[in-house]
């Protein structure tokens, strides 16, 4: 067996570890635990590479899904999940992200900043209550029922908001990416 298999894992790590780390750190708010989850995520990806089905999404989606699930499991078991949604987003966030830089590869930095700007722009375009439903579901890992309890809204309203929010995001991101492609 050549070294190329491990090397491929290294490529995936170099490309996606910054994103995975930013996500799990946000979910866990603990640097040590976040690093553990990053390592577990790439190890799980390595072990399960034959289960990866490209027809079910991008490689980044696969890695982010593994990482989020592991981080939320940890957070739940600690019973100290974040209670509040993301800090308020402003249009100026989208404008300022091009200054944010994390990876060592400048092309990758620029691409990550572009992608972040697009996602923030799409998020900012949502009505506040839809954005909140989306963020509570994705970043706090709350069920629709829990979000209904949290926000005092009927369950049906929460479901509708969540659905509209993600579908609008999808359309927005498709348009924004076509603009910049």
């Amino acid at each position: 067996m050549s070294a190329s298999d491990e090397q491929a894992l290294g490529v995936l790590y170099d490309r996606w570890a910054p994103l995975v780390h930013s996500l799990v750190l946000h979910l866990l708010e603990d640097a040590g635990e976040a690093e553990d989850v990053v390592e577990e995520t790439f190890w799980q990806a390595w072990r399960q590479v034959s289960r990866y089905d490209p027809s079910r999404g991008a490689v980044s989606t696969w890695l982010v899904t593994i990482a989020r699930s592991r981080a939320l499991d940890r957070a739940r078991s600690r019973r100290r999940m974040k209670e509040e949604p993301l800090t308020q987003l402003r249009e100026s966030d989208a404008a300022s992200v091009s200054r944010v830089s994390s990876a060592s590869d400048p092309h990758q930095d620029a691409e990550a900043a572009d992608r972040r700007a697009a996602v923030l722009k799409a998020l900012c375009a949502l009505p506040a209550e839809q954005r909140e439903a989306l963020q509570l579901a994705y970043f706090s890992g709350l069920s629709q029922t829990e979000i209904a309890d949290r926000t005092g809204q009927p369950l049906g309203t929460v479901k509708t908001r969540t659905r509209l929010a993600l579908e609008k995001m999808r359309v927005q991101l498709t348009m924004l990416r076509e603009e910049t492609a």
Binding site: A8, Y13, W46, R116
Partner: protein, 292 residues
């Protein structure tokens, strides 16, 4: 017993599932429907990608460089020992693959070169080739190519490894086939093709520097019944040779393989033109894709 739900009921649940917030019987019922509904299945893929993109909205927080390097080394070392000692405890087994051989057949002279084989449509090549193409086109390769195109060396290294990994992930059959060698071998030359038009079609020619050619194209316009696409290769002597004709699937994707001997390093440019069905003796129709 999994409860059966209607398409409309499923539609209402897709986003919640994509966000990882669906559980229990609702989730079982949705996934059972998605298995048999192409519309919901395709939407779920898109919504999952959209949900994962939420992670990109977060401020980037770099890993500590020293600890990240240590983690990377640990992962690679574990992976290496895993490959030698793997017992397959969770379905994570990597298929065995034969060692990649360098091309050994002699380079044939250019004069009087016959076009010995013409590529076929993806369908007739068998499912694995289409699957491999789907991987390359769908699994982030386009964004990798776009983001790294400015730096050919970076693109080359990254792509070789990512391609190998993703082909491996896509299908075990591809590993045993020569395709992986043809796309990732050490001598393979990659030529980018771009086109104009609303779909911004793209393509790549992979040449093993001997006689094997693989063309992947993405987003070409649909063909009229009496038209075909034709791949042309231009050599240093400004000879333009046909590598054959091909069609695309309904999304404008195609994988096309041809065998055509050219001397190493002799390729100057490549293009795809729209020609009458059956192909033309020399490029005569509009250019659909061209290298820079």
């Amino acid at each position: 017993m999994i409860q059966s739900i209607s398409h409309d009921e499923a539609q209402a649940l897709l986003a919640i599932e994509a966000l990882g917030a669906l559980t229990g019987a609702d989730r079982d019922a949705l996934l059972a429907h998605v298995e048999v509904c192409a519309v919901c299945s395709a939407q779920l893929v898109q919504l999952r990608d959209t949900a994962a993109a939420l992670a990109e909205s977060l401020p980037a927080v770099p890993l500590n460089p020293d600890r990240s390097a240590a983690m990377r080394s640990r992962l690679l070392a574990r992976a290496a020992s895993d490959l030698t000692g793997r017992r397959g405890d969770d379905g994570g087994r990597l298929p065995n693959e034969p060692p990649v051989k360098a091309p050994t057949s002699p380079v044939k002279p250019l004069s009087g070169e016959p076009v010995r084989a013409i590529g076929r449509s993806p369908a007739s090549r068998g499912g694995w080739l289409a699957a491999a193409a789907a991987v390359l086109l769908a699994a982030g390769i386009l964004s990798v190519l776009r983001s790294t195109r400015r730096d050919a060396a970076v693109a080359r290294n990254e792509l070789t490894a990512v391609r190998a990994q993703q082909l491996r992930a896509a299908t075990e059959v591809a590993l045993r086939d020569s395709l992986i060698e043809q796309l990732t071998g050490a001598t393979v030359r990659i030529v980018d093709l771009t086109g104009s038009g609303p779909n911004a079609p793209m393509g790549w020619v992979f040449w093993d520097q001997n006689e094997k050619w693989t063309l992947l194209v993405h987003d070409l316009p649909a063909l009229a019944a009496d038209r075909t696409y034709q791949l042309w290769l231009t050599t240093g002597g400004q000879r333009t040779l046909s590598a054959g004709t091909f069609g695309t699937d309904h999304r404008g994707h195609a994988v096309f393989r041809a065998t055509l001997s050219l001397p190493r390093d002799s390729l100057v440019s490549a293009s795809v033109t729209l020609e009458p069905a059956g192909g033309a003796a020399r490029p005569s129709g509009p250019i659909a894709l061209a290298s820079k």
